[in-house]
Subunit: 224 residues, 6 copies
């Protein structure tokens, strides 16, 4: 199952790669459609723009957000994005959409978006969702904010906080979300820590999670 899970994470979140982002720099013009063919390996903060004379409605368009991929074995969820990588007209405009589908008991595991707040609405199914926040008055405690959501329910995950979505029903579930960045970023906590390349020193993971080193090695094997 571990392999499936890993595969899932790769396949699911590969799509998500620059998923969230909020408070992007403001635009200097009405629009600046992203282009990648700007002569070889130069990069700027964000993307180069297409010649605005060549802009068409299709630059602001993307089809297919009504259909999902197959929920992956292991995690049982699938994610599809309309962000700067799939919708070049979003460049400099600071927003993106996401669709997530869940098989029964499917999970989008705990993660953060470094550059965006996420707001979701449930289209189908029943989900247990939530985020974690340090208690502002007593930093020695973490408070969880969780909720069971049904069709039509809306929930907010504030920027940078760890959050997750889990299908607690025995039917499929679908969520539509938005993030206030063209490229909000995605940090999947468990797979980053245990599956990084090169792997982290096991002392760090052992001490941080209070796991013995054999267990750490085992998890590193599962996630790598």
């Amino acid at each position: 199952m571990a392999l499936c899970l890993l595969t899932f994470i790769l396949v699911t979140f590969g799509l998500l790669s620059s998923f969230v982002s909020s408070f992007d720099p403001s635009p200097y013009q009405d629009f600046c459609i992203a282009t990648s063919d700007s002569k070889a390996a130069v990069f700027v903060n964000g993307k180069f723009c297409k010649d605005p004379k060549l802009a068409t409605a299709d630059d602001f368009f993307l089809a297919g957000l009504n259909v999902s991929g197959n929920p992956l074995p292991g995690l049982g969820s699938f994610v599809k994005l309309a962000d700067i990588n799939s919708l070049p007209g979003l460049n400099t405009l600071g927003i993106s959409l996401v669709r997530a589908d869940f098989a029964p008991y499917g999970l989008i595991p705990p993660h953060t978006h470094p550059r965006g707040t996420e707001i979701i609405v449930v289209l189908e199914g029943t989900l247990y969702v939530g985020f974690l926040a340090p208690d502002t008055m007593n930093p020695f405690k973490t408070q969880s904010f969780t909720k069971i959501l049904s069709k039509g329910d809306v929930f907010v995950f504030p920027q940078g906080l760890i959050h997750f979505q889990y299908n607690v029903g025995h039917t499929n579930a679908t969520v539509l979300g938005a993030l206030n960045s063209q490229n909000a970023g995605l940090i999947v906590v468990a797979s980053e820590l245990f599956g990084s390349n090169p792997p982290l020193l096991d002392d760090v993971l052992s001490k941080a999670f209070q796991l013995d080193k054999k267990m750490v090695k085992q998890l590193q094997g599962l996630f790598s």
Copy 2:
């Protein structure tokens, strides 16, 4: 019909009143839930925050985005918002959601959002949507970017540009959208210009729209 239209605009967009917003100022803390009861008539840029010790998951939650109100006669559309006014947990977080429903040939008339880009996905039906942008190389021309959208299609309306959505099918249509502001603002062009209180000098409207003054008065009557 004019009365219906007006009623529609009032009812529909009343809800929308501070609809769009992008590139809001960044937050200074993990969250800052809006509160209105801060002792009478003091206002700040944005909203006051609730004591974070009293925060609960319900502050980040809103139900009912799966159901619409009745599309209004006249325009034949209805809009429902999840923004700072209905979802206080959004305060300082720079994003909001919107659901729009259309009867056959229903319209959301041309408007702008001063503080937000909008991205939409069609849940049901067939819509003719678009925005208008001055040609960057030849400012003497306005270019329209329009598209017929079906289920699952995504489209972007860049910040501050005039845009609209029109149901060209003979069935109902539903759209879900997001704006990168907690309060993006809403400027409905026709009803603002012809329905303002006090009314604008008719010379201004007559010259701007190349309409004779009798026609201007008539429109002002319809929209006021």
Copy 3:
């Protein structure tokens, strides 16, 4: 006259093409003078910079804001800009100037600036100016904020709101304004909606303005 008006809009606002802008992204250096000759068709958010070693005082200089062009027949106004397109030293610095001249009864028709607040001072003459804002407590109403201005009077048009300036005196008038963007954008409401290319579907304009389709076609003819 329609032709004249159109010509006017083209000629006058062509100059204005990226007229307004506020809250541009901050600079990363003391200055970054715009350059256009960076090898063909690459664009970034904003403009490329000139080599700072080659900067001179002339990059921050523009002559001629004391003289106007001829107020155009039809609208009777003329606009001259000191923005990123005419003053390359403004790049990344977030401000621009504008001079507007009015023949008797000359008009700058209702428009918005998507990226800037405008503040003006009257140098000569008497103008009726104003902007429109949705009522914050009762979004079913639009409030107009208008004022008759004389020499030395200052007025503010908040970012993104529809505003206009109209010479109500029988003498010429001149206004100097500033916008907090190097490229604030310009959306002239009437000419965008009725003069776009390709034209908008007449259903949209007819329903939005409560005009019959014959009238819509006639206006589209006048503005195109």
Copy 4:
């Protein structure tokens, strides 16, 4: 004369006190008119807002920018502002205007605006203006960018750089300027350093300006 100069600085720039500002935080609403009477001594970043229901056109209006005060003896210049302190409708909107009048050989001495770029246009007269910038390629050198300006000439002073305006003609001169902040700040270099209260340790000023301590004491007397 020193006394006059000091008086001038106090009188002239007192008005200027928070003169410049650019890249202010974005607004959360269409406008937020500043109010000072919010119950005693509470302050926020910026200003409290007036109840938007009570907004009127006069909140966005200021008269009198066509007339100057008397150019002060000593410096021979006078400055008048339309900023957040005199025009409450500017709150959160990120822009302000300034009018400066110069007697023959009148000076606005070297100063910076910590929160704003300034752009000026000459209405009357002939001025020697400029700013100073560290050479980006060779930081061991400071480059001056200066220019003689006549009527209608426009010049830009980038944010945070030291700049000045000096009337080199034997007639009066008038300048109109704009800054991209509601409150850009004003740092008058000489009077701050030599006139602060309490005075700076003379070692610091002596070493920094390569002046003997007697001279430092003398200047501190003139400016205090």
Copy 5:
């Protein structure tokens, strides 16, 4: 040891509670010293300001960043902050300092700062530090960026990415760091996930970390 570790986290990071922050909203004035006594339970985005007439140098001052607390048993590290909570003059100014001390093999466990980039310099000792980033071209992989640092070495942890610091030497170590926020936030991954109150559903943690539920319960016991 688990108890010690937990205690450590509480004690150490309690101090850190709003640790990181970058790209805070810009200031509207020269300074705005934070005050807490603004009449009971009202909060704004950030903090209220002290009356600027009452400002003193001590508002911008904090002593004691040369001494550490006792490295805690369990983790063997201690953190001390100069941020908005201990240094009120930092309000609206967007920066803070941090000092971290490590016993041999002491650890600051993997964490993120939602609102700030961190830059550190080693004052004493030898540390293994690093951060994790999703591979931009192949999101299926996480890349680790780690380094052994000695005295005088500087390292950067980009905003929002998971990072850690571990003393690999058998002597004490000390680090000084800065974050570009007055309140950057702190998300300690392991203790948030396994120690939250109320605890997360064990299904979520079990699936995310590929641990059996007995192990999850055990970890939740250790961290709660």
Copy 6:
């Protein structure tokens, strides 16, 4: 001595050339390592990025902040930077570090950072530090905020305000500081005004500093 002083300023602050910066535009991606070899003379706001596939830990690393250069004769201080010019991984991340060393009675002369607030901690020695701010209620007065600092003391210099650091002890002193910009800028008041190339008109300096023209010429000789 003047020559020494000048040399000092050149050598010391040459390194500092774009020293400060706060509230840089936000990043669009996890990181964007600066590169200079992007084909000749093209510049953008900030820096071009390195291909993220080629990123290594060394891009985020800089050695040697534990050692100083020789305090220069004349001023007796030396400054070393970890900013965008020496640490390319800082690009778009909005922070930098600085180390300053002082011989007995060494001075960092009055200066501003146009794009950053600075926060310092004393590592060794005793310093007289401070900044100058216009009195907000009575702009006719400048208030100095000064303090004698010892080991472990922290002090804040708000963005854009004139500040200085002076070693009042008869032993060496060392300070570590941070600025919330990758390139905060540096304006050394005295050397900019009296040492600019080309030199400023002596009338301006004479009137501004109340020095006779002979004295102005003499100072211009010393600083040029």
